[in-house]
């Protein structure tokens, strides 16, 4: 193993994980992996895991909510995938109901077998469909308004403030409230009159002031969008770290994805401060 070839192998593995390789480079990588007796998939997994760990760190808490439409599409895709696999297993079930060793007995009534098999399969499919429908009915998340009502009903330490206007010119004519439970680490904001944001250039970001933390470093409560449709908008609070004793809230306008430390240039609403 010459040092130069080992170094070239590492370069190619790094490039593959970061940017992908051209066909010629890919062939070179395979030759080098063979030369060093390495498993291609395991070597790639290892380097790709490195880039994934770095990606997690770079993204930090700049995660954004998915568009609602996409979230629903992904749920549908998941269901389709599930059903696809489910139908395969139903064939297995059908086969299990009618195992190979019983064939001689069944051949005695050949006309009935296809129907019996079809009926068993159809029954299993229908049963499965009912079970899935029931499962989805029970797993469907309640609306945000319902979740907020649930929080109001269940939290024994609920903090609730009306929004007051912040100093920024971007504030519009906001009203609404914010509620939070330290115990449940959950809360909701309600807005009316806060201008819709262009999510390509800005997002709103909530900051939660915690009595047990430095007031100069409020907790990131997540980024959110206000759609153009207007009306009342309910936004769940997604505190990135535990809030021990919340006492105030502020919403700022930031770059898409939010920031780690706000310049507080555009504070649009405040509560409890």
């Amino acid at each position: 193993m010459t040092e130069a070839r080992k170094q070239r192998l590492e370069e190619l593995l790094a490039d593959r994980a970061l940017w992908g390789l051209e066909e010629g480079e890919q062939q070179e990588l395979r030759h080098l992996l063979d030369e060093f007796g390495l498993d291609e998939q395991e070597a790639l997994d290892s380097w790709e895991t490195s880039t994934s760990l770095l990606t997690v760190a770079f993204l930090g808490n700049r995660e954004e909510n998915m568009p609602e439409g996409l979230a629903k599409t992904l749920e549908t895709d998941a269901l389709k995938h599930f059903l696809k696999n489910q139908s395969m297993s139903l064939e297995d079930v059908s086969n299990a109901i009618e195992p190979e060793e019983h064939k001689p007995r069944l051949t005695a009534v050949p006309a009935s077998r296809p129907w019996a098999s079809w009926l068993l399969t159809a029954a299993a499919v229908l049963l499965s469909a009912f079970l899935i429908a029931d499962r989805f009915a029970t797993e469907t998340l309640p609306s945000l308004a319902d979740q907020r009502s649930e929080l109001v009903a269940s939290a024994t330490d609920l903090l609730r403030y009306d929004w007051s206007e912040g100093p920024s010119d971007l504030r519009g004519q906001p009203s609404g409230d914010v509620m939070w439970s330290d115990e449940q680490q959950s809360g909701f904001m309600t807005f009316r009159g806060l201008p819709a944001n262009d999510k390509q250039s800005t997002q709103y970001q909530l900051w939660i002031f915690d009595k047990e933390r430095d007031a100069a470093k409020p907790v990131d409560g997540g980024v959110f969008d206000i759609p153009a449709e207007g009306g009342e908008v309910i936004v769940p609070i997604e505190a990135k770290i535990d809030v021990r004793e919340a006492f105030g809230f502020a919403v700022t306008v930031e770059e898409p994805g939010g920031v780690v430390v706000s310049e507080r240039e555009h504070i649009v609403v405040l509560a409890g401060l």
Binding site: L18, E42, S46, E48, V56, P67, D77, A78, K240
Partner: protein, 186 residues
Amino acid sequence: MDTPSLTSVAAGNLGAMDSCLQAYGRVVWSLARRALASDEEAEDATQEIFLEVWKNAERFDPERGSEKTFILTIARRRLVDRLRRQGGRPGAEPLPDGDELVAVEERKSADLEDEVERVYAALAQLKPEQKLVLELCLIHGESHRAIGERIGMPLGTVKSHARRGLKRVRELLADCLPMSPGEVTP
């Protein structure tokens, strides 16, 4: 979470798929949105990534890393493929300023899982130019050529910073990474 979602997904649990979407949908979407040129494309990519996750769930081994890392590995692979098909993404987003790079280090103090804390610690040991090149590649999906043009750095230097930075991170995180027997160790 006692049983990893992906283990349950592999076992055919529909509820686990939902848990997985809830837990990792945002991070995959955020990555796709930053790497790709339009929301529409990012949505397509996110769909594609999760289909790949469902298909490969049985490959997940909790002994070899976290679910998040597993899913992001699939996500990165799909995004790299997409970007290569397009011939690399033009530098469409503003260059991250110094604050963003500082911010990565500040996040060390947040209450995060051990694995990620260790990556933050490793990141803090990289040279600023290594971090910058890696962030532009991994988060903004930029090709080495686009990065070079954006920050006025020769192509070879861009690659060199990225490779050295990644290699250094692998050295610092050696025990977090899956290694095959006889692999070139960091």
